[in-house]
Symmetry: none
Subunit: 144 residues, 4 copies
């Protein structure tokens, strides 16, 4: 089960609206449940380096079915997952990546936003998901 093109476009439009409300320039990426790129945009004036961060945030949230910020808490020095960022060709583990879950509790993809503070990045990602689904996965098993 994958996020559809229509859902992706709806989410990106909501993300841009939220970005403009805050007054920030974002890169926004959506991946399907296989962590494969579905949709991407870089707003005019956004940091060039944010493109890859947005894509990696979306992949990271999909890879583990949780928000990137939650993983980041576990990957600090001395914490259990220290260094996990070296896997999967590079993870991004600070906020801005969130899973996309449908009403049946199935992971259908993830969104990643980068371009401002991590608080803004997360806020924009959340605003995008709110128009198409949920952001929280139930307990395992959640992927068919």
């Amino acid at each position: 089960m994958h996020v559809s093109y229509e859902q992706a476009e709806t989410a990106i439009t909501a993300a841009i609206t939220e970005s403009q409300k805050i007054g920030v320039q974002m890169c926004i990426a959506i991946v399907d449940s296989g962590a494969d790129l579905k949709s991407f945009i870089r707003m005019d004036g956004a940091w060039l380096g944010s493109s890859d961060i947005a894509i990696k945030k979306a992949k990271t949230a999909c890879f583990f079915g949780m928000s990137t910020g939650s993983i980041g808490e576990l990957s600090q020095p001395g914490a259990p997952l220290y260094g996990i960022e070296h896997s999967n060709e590079g993870l991004i583990t600070f906020p801005g990546g969130i899973p996309i879950v449908n009403n049946d509790g199935i992971l259908i993809g993830a969104i990643g936003v980068s371009g401002s503070s991590v608080e803004h990045d997360h806020q924009v990602a959340k605003a995008a998901i709110d128009v198409i689904g949920l952001a929280d996965l139930p307990s395992h098993p959640w992927r068919t």
Copy 2:
């Protein structure tokens, strides 16, 4: 000078319309004049492997300011650019990638389309460019 978000969205909408008219499922990528990803979509049902091909076609067309098909004629065995695909982390040199040129003859980006025959890929890319600019660069110098 770079393709704007508004131009990218206009071009992608035209590409999708043309794809639906033909009855094909495409991946469509737009890069700016720095060959950096600006916008991307994978239509529902498109080949998963076409995502990277669409992006590489757009980059290839931007890297050299000419259509990917034109480069492909030069990269055949025995031709002057044989093996050029090994550069730049992988080029795609068959049709479907076209530069985007503004009315002043300046390269502002490129589009790459993948998902059907190379004829269809090129047709959809051309339809997208026609709504926002030109597809042919004047002689050098063409990059600001």
Copy 3:
């Protein structure tokens, strides 16, 4: 919709049986419909370099929903897809990779086999698929 662990193991067991019948040492890889690795084995005595080839064959077959040999016919010098192997971090386009399709005509993954002649590789891959599904996709759209 993805190939299950049980299906993957059943297919790999059949592949090993077929390999032993022929008297060859194979690497066998199965990916799900997101082209993500599901199961892999390298038989004792198999070429070390065949591991990556088996995995890339499975991914290639999944990326485009067709057998790797079919793509290879299109990627020869002068053919429409010449050089496609440079995409997606490296494709393998000679026989031995086949899509796995369920009874509803949905792509659920792919298998890749490497370790002997391409005829043997394809034969073993086909024997593996025959115990769990079909090898031919219907026309588009085939991926949800």
Copy 4:
């Protein structure tokens, strides 16, 4: 001297049994003493991102002949091997990777498990090794 296919399958079966006992969904990778992939499975419902982590844990344990958790103690900020994760195309240095040693004290491969807490990952890896060999290497030299 390398872990055989038969040993790898025996170990993976034990790992799956232990995983099911705990109620977790794991990715399990086995490499031979050349750190080359021998066998891999991703259980249904396992995190997609755990595939690469399991493989990297197995490689890391093999590369240095010690458990990944032991290396992780040395790679913290201020510790002697800080940043070692950047080598070898990415190491994973938290628990879940363990060398496989035969009864003669020879390293014959390694196992990596990822999919739950690091305690569970290590527990499953250890359960797998217990059925085919030892987990501790004698002093150097240990590699033939």
